[in-house]
């Protein structure tokens, strides 16, 4: 029932709450107790529930024992014991490989990679071992119980190696799933779905929102279905697609656009691989315009995949080229982070919203040039 309601509940826009929180919330489904939590607490709750409900589940990674660098694993070692929640040495390749083996024996391994920037030593294990295990063994073996969690994305001052968004690399691998939540409530449901999904999942958590995002999160065990995008704001003039922390930025751009009379439809993709093409397609067929935004560099980013697919499916309905407002094609910079990031001003003045004849150099005016 929860999943059905999730699919058909219309989302409400709830004006301003504190702490830069997400501005939407679902209608309460039934009489569930909710608690105001931030992102790391929601994830912590999800992990507690996952370990409680399945005695053969384990959480491990670097420094998770004392709670982890972002406090996501607080209390787990104390509650479930050092045999189920433990620290590993500093070796990402070893950690993920170990997790694959554990999952192959029918356990649920929830692996933490301390920062997504450090996931690359494990890339071989994820791509060559985890993603292809079921396929190459003819379904005899699988590592579906594997879930890899990693904080990703800009944090304001992270620099080259504490801010990367590597989701595009993983979206290119058939056999794994890639999931990115946008808020505490979503994170808890999506993480529980990811852990219980019978496929290996890479779960990226927007680290900027660990403390910044606060939301009412139901206390019970609930799951949010994977591969289902959500229309979090309805509109009729343009479709915006994004995920993770970037949605907060895009929502601000939408509000600015409203003032200029442009009605924006905002979609949270949630699962990037496999992604919900139908929802985005339906929306673009309605509005005729698409803008995709993500923090990762623009070339080869996941926005390119969305753009190509939508072009194939909605070519005749499109009124302007698909626009991508993304990070620049540079290594994630240190002092230049504000220039690199796809801010709401870049979104507002994206060229897909301007008529072709106008001079695109005076771009402060943004959406109004759509019409």
């Amino acid at each position: 029932m929860a999943s059905l309601l999730g699919r058909f509940c219309r989302k409400l826009v709830v004006p301003g709450s504190a702490h830069g929180s997400r501005m939407t919330s679902t209608t309460a489904c039934g009489s569930e107790t909710v608690k105001s939590l931030n992102l790391y607490s929601a994830i912590n709750q999800a992990l507690h529930i996952a370990l409680e409900t399945d005695p053969r589940s384990y959480v491990f990674g670097e420094d998770v024992g004392f709670g982890g660098v972002f406090r996501c694993t607080t209390g787990l070692a104390e509650r479930f014991g050092k045999n189920r929640v433990f620290n590993t040495p500093l070796c990402e390749q070893g950690i993920v490989g170990f997790g694959i083996g554990l999952a192959a024996m029918g356990n649920r391994a929830v692996v933490e990679i301390q920062f997504a920037d450090y996931i690359y030593p494990a890339f071989d294990q994820i791509v060559n071992e985890a993603a292809k295990f079921r396929y190459r063994s003819g379904n005899q073996f699988n590592c579906g119980g594997l879930t890899i969690r990693a904080p990703y994305g800009a944090v304001g001052h992270g620099g080259h190696y504490h801010s990367q968004s590597p989701e595009a690399f993983f979206c290119h691998v058939p056999g794994i799933k890639v999931v990115i939540p946008r808020s505490p409530r979503e994170a808890k449901g999506l993480l529980l779905s990811s852990i219980r999904d019978p496929n290996p999942v890479v779960f990226f958590e927007p680290k900027w929102l660990y403390r910044q995002a606060v939301e009412e999160v139901p206390e019970h065990d609930y799951m949010i279905p994977l591969s289902q995008a959500e229309v979090i704001r309805e509109g009729s003039d343009i479709t915006l697609v994004g995920w993770g922390a970037q949605l907060t930025v895009m929502e601000q751009a939408c509000l600015d656009a409203e003032k200029e009379g442009i009605s924006c439809e905002l979609i949270d993709l949630k699962t990037l691989l496999p992604w919900d093409k139908e929802t985005v397609e339906a929306s673009v067929k309605k509005t005729g315009r698409l803008l995709i935004s993500h923090e990762a560099p623009i070339t080869g980013g996941f926005g390119a995949e969305i753009s190509a697919t939508i072009l194939e499916r909605c070519f005749l309905k499109l009124e302007a080229p698909v626009s991508r407002v993304c990070g620049l094609d540079t290594p994630f910079p240190l002092v230049f982070e504000p220039f690199y990031m796809p801010t709401k001003n870049k979104a507002s003045s994206s060229s897909s919203l301007s008529s072709p004849s106008k001079n695109t150099h005076f771009l402060i005016h943004g959406f109004s040039r759509l019409l």
Partner: protein, 403 residues
């Protein structure tokens, strides 16, 4: 009068004194009369006979050790305050407590020997001849920094001193260091590479890959494990089956050194360099300690007690050890040393003030040095239609010209 006191205290080696002019104030800092000091602990070795515990040094060297270590200590403390004042952003990993490793190593090698290390590189940079002003500028992200403000705390480099940085990913610098050693061997430079890594990085697979290659090809690589006993928040006994990092090389010889004793470090590095030039790789494990947490975001007290930290500070502090040596050998008085420390403090404060005035890099620097100019690689901006526009955080339109 003062000189005679000196000669009566120096040990067995009575060499004719260097001719220094006798002024009212002792000019001991130029005295290079050899003094022999014993290291605090004997060396423990693996597959090799350890060097002697008796280290040759001189007043000049001891005083320079003291001054340089005091400078490093002061710099790290200044960086701490700057970080808390939000002038340094990002991640900042401080080296105070471990200064003896950087100083002792420099005393044993030349600027043609290469050093490559992890992100805890401020003092290593200083040891290689880097200036305080460049260091603070880089920390605050200014153009006058050693990496033009684009690297930050974790990415200090100095090409003319063969300092290859400054690396953020743990353990990634080790195969690189072995590659540097290969290049040195190939060009017959009679130089070695010192590759530094921590006890956390010692568990990375790429380390063993690099070790195997270095041993197979007899590369002049000295792998130095700066064992400060904590891989961020995890103690070594919890992450390593064998915390005897100097033995981890298996077929590669190793030496365990008291990393808080600058003279022991010097002896070990000298020994290691000779070995590496003749026989190939060797591992040095420096038993050291960091007073700060892993980085400025880590208080450093959730996984170890404050008593432990203050205990090490009281008993094993590298600067205090050299101070005691200097006073025992009557090279300088306590007051003179304190004056030196005050001088150092002024120097650091001046560099900080100067660095604060330096400009931040031009916006066009965001796009420079990604590729080499002129080979057809253009950076893609917001869309192909807008080629040179980018926006600042305050809605001001900025034109960034492509180099």
């Amino acid at each position: 009068m003062a000189l005679s006191r000196l000669s009566s205290r120096s040990t067995t080696l009575l060499q004719p004194l260097a001719t220094t002019s006798l002024l009212r104030r002792r000019h001991i800092s130029t005295d290079t009369t050899p003094i022999t000091v014993e290291t605090s602990l004997p060396f423990t070795s693996h597959l090799i006979s350890p060097p002697s515990r008796a280290v040759e040094t001189s007043s000049q060297e001891l005083l320079s050790f003291f001054r340089d270590m005091a400078l490093m200590r002061r710099m790290e403390i200044a960086a701490d305050s700057l970080y808390k004042a939000k002038l340094i952003r990002g991640f900042c990993h401080l080296y105070d407590g471990q200064e003896a490793v950087a100083i002792g190593m420099e005393a044993a090698i030349t600027k043609r020997d290469a050093i490559i290390t992890s992100y805890r590189d401020h003092c290593t940079f200083l040891g290689r001849g880097g200036g305080l002003f460049e260091a603070f500028s880089e920390l605050m992200g200014r153009t006058t920094g050693c990496s033009k403000g684009k690297g930050g705390s974790m990415h200090f480099y100095k090409k003319d001193a063969s300092f290859y940085g400054g690396h953020g990913i743990v353990g990634a610098q080790v195969p690189l260091g072995c590659g540097l050693a290969f290049a040195q061997k190939y060009s017959k430079e009679e130089a070695v590479t010192f590759t530094l890594y921590g006890d956390g990085a010692a568990n990375q697979g790429q380390l063993f890959e690099a070790l195997n290659i270095a041993a197979l090809w007899d590369l002049p690589a000295v792998l130095v494990c700066e064992n400060n006993h904590y891989g961020m928040g995890t103690a070594e006994w919890r992450s390593a089956k064998s915390p005897a990092y100097f033995k981890r090389g298996d077929y590669v010889p190793g030496l365990k050194v008291d990393g808080m004793d600058a003279l022991a470090v010097k002896q070990a590095c000298k020994f290691a360099k000779e070995h590496a030039l003749k026989n190939g790789p060797i591992i040095l494990e420096m038993d050291t300690y960091r007073y700060h947490g892993h980085s400025m975001s880590d208080p450093g007290s959730t996984y170890r007690t404050r008593d432990e930290i203050s205990g090490v500070r009281q008993v094993r502090d590298p600067i205090d050890r050299v101070r005691k040596l200097i006073i025992a050998h009557d090279i300088a008085t306590e007051k003179e040393l304190k004056d030196m420390e005050k001088e150092v403090r002024k120097e650091v404060d001046a560099a900080v003030a100067q660095a604060k005035e330096s400009p931040i890099p031009e916006p066009s620097e965001l796009f420079s040095n990604i590729y080499v100019k002129g080979f057809g690689a253009e950076v893609n901006f917001i869309s192909p239609l807008e080629t040179t526009l980018s926006f600042g955080a305050d809605r001001k339109e900025l034109r960034a010209t492509l180099p």
